[in-house]
């Protein structure tokens, strides 16, 4: 049963105690609470963007779902979690599927504009790229595309951990190349990586439908809302990201440019070069060799080229 808007759920831990608020920090219920919240978050996004109405979408519905998403974002911020929510982490669709070309440019479009909801409205771009531990825990988002691609019944949790760690190591490498971000951010990245390890991935039972499209959700957040409800293209959930400026100034990304041809809403989506971190994420499920944690993520260049060819469709 799917809900929308400001949900009120009968908390199973309340047990008739009136007015008792179950804090998310309660020990045993914390994981389930996080799981629930993440599920709600995913469902909310799905409801918002997977629906292709012939008629005008209900404004009330949209507002309620947006409220829910904002609420989750606020809560994540309040929790002071160092695990930013990164919606489209490791979300490759089947490269041969029709969705893929559509998804990929939208995704790259997002690279320049970070995703919702980052729980750091601060402009630290690095954190916004990190895979949220909660996503890794729940495997609801990350793994379904993998399922779609590989066809396994169970999502491959190990594949995600290396991605996570690869980030920190990749970021470390990048730090050496470019003006380094603050050490606090690096620490945050490490802590986030640690948190990810502490919570082993759970196999998810729930596989939301139409997940490959969820990558397009971010772009649609920008595009569909203005189209239908006169909402300006200023980002509600997104903050500007200058990651590309920092990290990839000297990388030739001409190969990765995509045509802005895919948004089904028809609104123009800004295309930006694919950034390397996206590649890392998208490629993680593809990597045939299992990468053990704590090892640097080394990509074979030829493999990378091959995959990029597939992505570009050249």
């Amino acid at each position: 049963m799917l809900g929308k808007g400001g949900k009120r759920k009968f908390d199973e831990h309340e047990d008739g105690l009136e007015g008792k608020v179950v804090s998310p920090t309660d020990g045993p219920s914390k994981v389930s609470y996080t799981l629930q919240r993440q599920t709600i978050f995913n469902i909310s996004l799905m409801k918002l963007y997977n629906h292709r109405p012939l008629t005008e979408p209900s404004l009330q519905k949209t507002v309620l779902i947006n409220n829910m998403l904002r609420r989750i974002q606020e809560e994540l911020k309040q929790e002071g979690s160092l695990r930013p929510v990164f919606m489209t982490a490791s979300q490759p669709a089947d490269p041969l599927s029709d969705n893929f070309r559509e998804a990929q440019p939208a995704f790259s479009h997002l690279a320049s504009q970070p995703l919702l909801p980052t729980d750091f409205v601060s402009t630290t771009p690095l954190e916004s790229c990190l895979t949220p531990a909660s996503l890794l825990e729940d495997d609801t988002f990350c793994t379904s595309p993998a399922v779609q691609h590989d066809g396994p019944t169970k999502p491959p949790p190990p594949a995600l951990q290396p991605v996570k760690d690869s980030f920190s190591s990749a970021l470390d490498e990048i730090e050496e190349l470019c003006p380094a971000p603050t050490s606090a951010e690096a620490v945050a990245a490490e802590t986030a990586a640690d948190d990810a390890k502490d919570h082993p991935s759970e196999s998810n039972v729930q596989k939301p439908e139409g997940l490959p499209e969820s990558r397009t959700t971010e772009s649609k957040l920008m595009d569909s809302l203005p189209g239908n409800f006169e909402i300006t293209t200023s980002t509600g959930f997104l903050t500007d990201l200058t990651l590309d400026d920092i990290l990839f100034a000297d990388i030739d990304t001409s190969m990765y440019d995509f045509d802005p041809c895919t948004s089904a809403t028809g609104a123009a989506s800004k295309m930006a070069p694919v950034s390397a971190d996206e590649l890392l994420k998208t490629l993680a499920p593809y990597s045939s060799q299992p990468v053990t944690p704590n090892q640097p993520f080394k990509m074979d260049l030829t493999e990378l080229d091959h995959i990029m060819e597939v992505l570009v469709g050249s």
């Binding site: 929308k4 009120r8 759920k9 009136e18 008629t55 006169e230």
Partner: protein, 453 residues
């Protein structure tokens, strides 16, 4: 979930009376009932469906021969109120689904009702014709023109009885005044004006003027990104033509006086539902039970009733079933009701005075699994009933249903997990003076009456 009320002085046993609609498994979406409304006398019951049709049922006269059959409702008139349209500017369809029907008080032999879809309100006249003129000079009975040269004598047409025919004609079309989806309409007590409310705006119309409407409420923010609440319902005061209320999706109720200003953005009174009050609720999914004893929890069963003893000196209160509370037994995520409605009732505790013979109020609201619930405001009891074909024997008493939340399931209880959340009852209506209720479950309309002794 529409609220209805009744004058129940004691527990009522609800019996099945009728069910309208097909039993077919392959129900077309167009048959889904989208609104139900009794007229002011209860003689007529109107339903609107997703296909844009309005079906009006009329209660038959009670016959002495069959005292147990207390006035059944039979089809009186059916007509297509709205057609699907296409908005060329946005390349979007405009649904023909009837969102609301409101009857006008009857002033002559004809019945008038307002029906609205997302964008257009229409005034329909439903009238009976049981006589027709016969004996025209210039045309045949078929209507064909006669050759004037063949006419040799004149005659006066006479009215002859005919089979009763009920015809519905659109008298007014009020269009192009709403950018967003109309969710409610309300006829003013002056019978000259009415208002239509969409997600962000409320417009005031005069029945005679279709190309103009006045905007009286506008909650659209300058930056749509900041939009967090929408209007869910609006209703005029039953007697005071300058007063109305509207509710928002956040659970606020605003009482407005049109005399104060042209744009009633500043409310005279605003009430919040208890759940909404805690803006810093750290449990987004938690159902916070309101504290006992507070003004909002008169019901005790968890249903807040918001009394708004208005500062305008009116002794009326507004009762609104708050979102989410009618499903106390559901441990999972609850949707916000898609509709709410208002009911003006005499205040129970107006400004601290003692009120004699307080009106008994029972609130009915729909739920899942084709359940619907009734809350008695005075006895603070509630009952859950089911609208299903299995319980559809004539005059069969409805058995209260019980949902068990967890743990051991007793016999006759239904566990939460086996509830069918796709079967929702979203539209109900209560007869204005008798204990007759109409409950719409998908494409079926159930009519229940209280048990006749």
């Amino acid at each position: 979930f529409l609220a209805g009320f009744g004058n129940l002085m004691q527990d009522v046993l609800w019996c099945f009376s009728q069910v309208k609609g097909t039993i077919d498994i392959g129900v077309t979406e167009a048959d889904i009932i989208s609104t139900v409304e009794f007229n002011h006398t209860g003689e007529l019951l109107a339903t609107g469906d997703k296909g844009g049709r309005v079906v009006i049922f009329q209660r038959e006269q009670e016959s002495k021969n069959q005292p147990h059959r207390r006035g059944e409702y039979n089809v009186y008139s059916t007509f297509q109120s709205h057609e699907p349209e296409f908005d060329y500017l946005k390349s979007l369809e405009i649904e023909e689904k009837i969102n609301k029907i409101r009857w006008l008080p009857q002033q002559n032999a004809a019945y008038f009702l307002l029906s609205t879809n997302d964008k257009t309100v229409k005034l329909w006249k439903v009238s009976e014709r049981d006589k027709r003129p016969e004996g025209y000079n210039l045309k045949d009975e078929d209507g064909r023109l006669r050759d004037p040269s063949m006419i040799t004598m004149l005659r006066v047409p006479v009215l002859r009885p005919m089979d009763l025919m009920v015809e519905a004609t659109p008298r007014r079309v009020f269009a192009n005044a709403h950018t967003y989806h109309i969710n409610s309409i309300s006829v003013n007590s002056d019978y000259e004006t009415y208002m239509s409310a969409d997600d962000l705006r409320i417009n005031l119309w005069n029945f005679e003027i279709t190309n103009q409407s006045f905007n009286i409420v506008d909650i659209k923010p300058a930056n749509m990104e900041e939009l967090t609440e929408v209007i869910t319902a609006a209703e005029f005061h039953p007697h005071h033509c300058n007063t109305f209320v509207y509710s928002s999706s956040k659970g606020t109720i605003r009482l407005c006086d049109m005399r104060t200003s042209a744009l009633c953005d500043r409310h005279a009174k605003c009430e919040y539902s208890p759940c909404q009050r805690d803006g810093r609720d750290r449990v987004p999914f938690g159902l916070k039970k309101p504290k006992k004893g507070s003004a909002e929890t008169d019901l005790g069963s968890g249903l807040p009733c918001h009394l708004a003893p208005s500062s305008l000196g009116l002794c009326w209160a507004v009762v609104l079933p708050a979102a989410g509370h009618s499903h106390g037994h559901l441990p999972s995520v609850l949707p916000v009701p898609e509709r709410s409605s208002f009911l003006w009732v005499p205040a129970l505790h107006p400004l601290g005075e003692h009120v004699k013979n307080p009106t008994v109020i029972v609130i009915m609201t729909g739920s899942y699994n084709n359940f619907f619930r009734m809350f008695d405001r005075n006895t603070k009891r509630d009952v859950t009933l089911e609208a299903s074909r299995e319980n559809s024997k004539p005059r069969a008493i409805l058995k209260p249903r019980k949902v068990c939340v967890g743990g051991k399931r007793r016999k006759d209880e239904i566990s939460v997990d086996s509830l069918d959340f796709s079967k929702k009852i979203l539209h109900t209506a209560w007869h204005p003076s008798e204990n007759i209720i109409a409950v719409a479950a998908t494409n079926n309309l159930y009519i229940f009456q209280d048990k006749v002794n």
